[in-house]
Amino acid sequence: MTTTIKLDSSAEDHHIARMAAVALGLAVLENAIPSPLPGVKPGLANIVTLIVLARYGWRVAAWVSLLRVVAGSLLFGNFLAPGFFLSLSGAVLSLIVLAAAQHLPSRWFGPVSHSIYAAFAHIAGQMAMVYLWLIPHAGIAYLIPIFAAAALVFGAVNGVIAARFMNTAVEGFSAKPS
């Protein structure tokens, strides 16, 4: 005998899951790119977070981002391992900064700014986690300028990609879930 467990899910839940799945795909994709230094990676999945933030607001973006972190860790097999907490601390601090950054006047500031601020917050969260928990040695300070430079470059690139996507996206994609 089989029992069917039915969870009530709204259209918005499905939408969030779809967006998180896209972010997850990008995370898997970028995991295949070799990195010169552990921790320096493009963060392509954040493009999805940026687009969702601009289209559907901070709450949905937070869901998508955190779902991606948790599901991604299950996929990569590091759930509750140090790598998971590094991702989580980066994502949480990014979201906090994005909550503030989204109120910047949109006439002057676009996704590129959001992306750069979030990237810096991401690396700050990760470095804080590394220092407080994993490697409490001042020596890691030598790596901060490298991480900051990577955050600036990748943050800007992701921001441009997100902005470009939003400016040229077909209408069908931007249809809001009813």
């Binding site: 006439r107 300028p145 430079a149």
Partner: protein, 135 residues
Amino acid sequence: MRPVNWHEPLRADVLPHLKPGDWLTLLLGGICVVVLALTLWNGELADRAVIRSGGKIFREVPLSRDQQIEVPGPLGTSVVTIEKRKARISSDPSPRQYCVRQGWLQQAGEIAICLPNEVSVELAGSRKKYDSLNY
């Protein structure tokens, strides 16, 4: 061969998506990176080497005089070489030889640790670089 004009895609694909505030953000980010690099990589030269064995300070020697120091540890003797204001561990009985392969240490705060033999060399400047670090 047709010359690749990379200005064109840049103008068409990137520039329209940057708003004035985004340029400001880029500028601020750039300044932030430069300031971080200048403050954290200010490369203070070391002037003495602190040699530890078993967690206790074995000797503190100035880098100004070239010398070799033999440091006893539980596995045997590690040899610390000081030459031209640099220091390195030139021989160690540890199986993996990490501290030997680390090579020359030059800046204050750099450290080579031979774990199994409990010997370490840390370079120190005239002042301690960090008391604590906050983010």
